[in-house]
Chain length 384, copies 2
């Protein structure tokens, strides 16, 4: 278990004073830090088809980017390159635990764990991101600089797939050591240049843009064959200007759209499905053959433990105290009775269900049925 | 020129009493009607790749549907079939004129002209549509029945691509003769069975559903690379229920969507582009080589006339008296100064520009430039 050491701050004060406002350095945010994976393990992941990775190299101002899978690391040389692997929490259970200390922020808001390995001089260059990030220093030392948002910074692409910014003024300038943590809000320019072979862990957040929300809602309507009502104009008057798109007609178009995005029933259902969908491949191991309910019951009675597959996104919504609970797992929705909050919480707030928590699912056939379903999808699996 | 004969009604009273409310039969709505095209010409169109057509056949309760292009009409026999051709106004200038009498309703609301040829016994069966339609009887006689909207009607598919309704009670039951016109609002069941070889012209309307609007807006944001703002939560508090998708977070999601669909600046621009896009192929003949401005000027000075390509959708929007005018043609947007209303009206409200109207475009180089652009796209062409 990693324990976040907020120094003289608390999570409350961190949220109030820094979250989405200004960058923060937590020296020894993890004390006695030990890396959950090695550079070799990371390189191993980058060889995989299903894992998203890229290598960034810079020598004499010439930026190169190569997307994985990487086949041969020997060509990169001893310095000036970084390999970045996305969604390592999906593939490496120990690394996934690095997300847990940040769960004073709700699940749905957390995206994934990116891990980078850099040789001396390596880095992706000065840039800014649209998302909050906590960058944890693993093995090795890296020089990090972070600035405040600055509209005068220019964005440019030294390589078609690299977006960088012009030189910025730093408010944090530090050589990070193992266990140091940097919090960077969206829009703050930052740059890390490795001083030695080093590992960095980025806990990234998810913050959909308006376009993503609208596109997601449109996809939901299409997938669920929801057309809504049509434009109608029973009060139309004879038009003198047949070419005109009149303001009154536009007002009705607007009203139809507003009504659609304000539907209190469907909005939570759509958003829950949308936001619980993982953006990267999951390492789902569907049991073959599927378990029967009585087999699962037997294992649970015998005292088995269950683990959640890494990267699986789970959340629930309950509109009011007695309302049905909508449980969202990996883009699917399950409707639970209003008194099943414990079930919803166990399935969304625990990464491991211990013996006693498992037994909760033996109390009702519907609960057991849901768990069996989730196990047979490979979402939960018995801890060896 | 077809002139609509409203009998004891006026366009005003038609809109007030019937439009989107109840069906209406206009006996001899077009007096002395003569068909703008022949059954043979229609069959010729149905042979074309670019033209959307389908043949519906029914014998002894067995419904068949075949999509065009049709290669051989001889297989269908003498009776019990109908051929329906979409967007005939895109391909046949004389037929396109059938839309003109209905332009007391604005352009953007009018969709296309569908034409059907039916042999005795032919028809598509009892059904209802989501759109208003005027059905004009051409040559031959056809038995039409129309009912009022009725929630108890059942919809079913006698063929995977035919949607029909159960038997309905008729409020209009008539043998239509050439020049008779039937107005049918959305949702009213209707059925036409041909008594002899007959032609029917359907003036269809366009009424986007909420889903279409939202999908269209999403496409617009994607095409124009408009991301909008991101979800942000600088006031977030420590979460006790990390699995919860809280109502406060959902409220912000809703607010982001509402803001997006309420933008008074972009809504008209988007909707104008969206609704001016034709749904069917256009018969655009781009001049090769393109005209130069001085060539066009010369032709206009000499007294040429211009015709609009059939099916081209044109409209404009001006938010207030002095505001810029957004002109929309075929999914493209052109911004005109606020005092160019005459230009906007000529380009959207006329199907033909006579000598004098053409000369309007000689008065300003920008006007001429716009016209040259539209001619070079094949939107307007010199009348032979
Ligand atoms: O680890 C790296 O090299 C890049 C980290 C970074 O910029 C980020 O996570 O936003
Ligand atoms: O012409 C036909 O056979 C079908 C016409 C029709 O149902 C319509 O235009 O809605
Ligand atoms: Co970054
Ligand atoms: Co119909």
């Amino acid at each position: 278990m990693y324990k976040l050491n907020f120094a003289d701050l608390s999570p409350e004060r961190f949220l109030a004073e820094y979250w989405q406002k200004k960058p923060l350095l937590l020296k020894q945010g993890f004390s006695n830090f030990s890396d959950p994976l090695s550079a070799d393990e990371l390189a191993g992941l980058a060889l995989e088809e299903d894992v998203e990775s890229r290598v960034v190299h810079c020598a004499n101002g010439d930026w190169q980017l190569e997307t994985g899978p990487v086949s041969d690391f020997s060509t990169f040389g001893e310095r000036d390159w970084t390999i970045l692997v996305q969604a390592v929490d999906h593939w490496h259970a120990d690394a996934a635990r690095l997300l847990d200390p940040f769960r004073f922020i709700p699940n749905w808001r957390i995206d994934d764990l990116m891990v980078s390995f850099s040789t001396p001089g390596g880095g992706v260059g000065p840039h800014l991101d649209q998302y909050d990030v906590f960058i944890i220093q693993g093995q090795g030392k890296r020089h990090w600089r972070v600035g405040m948002p600055d509209n005068t910074l220019e964005q440019f692409c030294p390589h078609p797939r690299l977006l960088q910014v012009s030189p910025f003024q730093a408010c944090i300038d530090v050589v990070m050591e193992p266990g140091d943590i940097l919090y960077i809000p969206p829009g703050c320019p930052h740059e890390g240049i490795s001083l030695e072979n080093s590992l960095n862990y980025s806990v990234g957040f998810r913050a959909p843009a308006q376009k993503d929300l609208l596109t997601g809602l449109a996809d939901y309507l299409i997938d669920n064959d929801i057309s809504g009502t049509r434009f109608s104009d029973p009060a139309r008057e004879v038009s003198q200007n047949i070419g005109e798109l009149a303001s009154a007609d536009l007002a009705q178009v607007k009203q139809l759209l507003q009504q659609l995005v304000s539907d209190e029933q469907s909005l939570p259902l759509w958003f829950g499905q949308y936001i619980s969908r993982a953006k990267h491949e999951l390492d789902l191991q569907e049991p073959e053959p599927h378990y029967q309910a009585d087999e699962i019951a037997e294992y649970l009675e015998e005292g088995s433990e269950l683990s959640l597959t890494g990267g699986l996104r789970c959340c629930y919504h309950q509109a009011s105290a007695d309302a049905d609970i909508a449980l969202f797992i990996n883009g699917e929705q399950y409707l639970l009775p209003g008194n099943e909050l414990t079930t919803a919480k166990l399935l969304t707030e625990q990464r491991v269900l211990d013996e006693q928590q498992c037994r909760h699912f033996l109390e009702l056939p519907e609960r057991l049925g849901l768990l069996v379903h989730l196990i047979n999808l490979g979402y939960w699996h018995f801890t060896d």
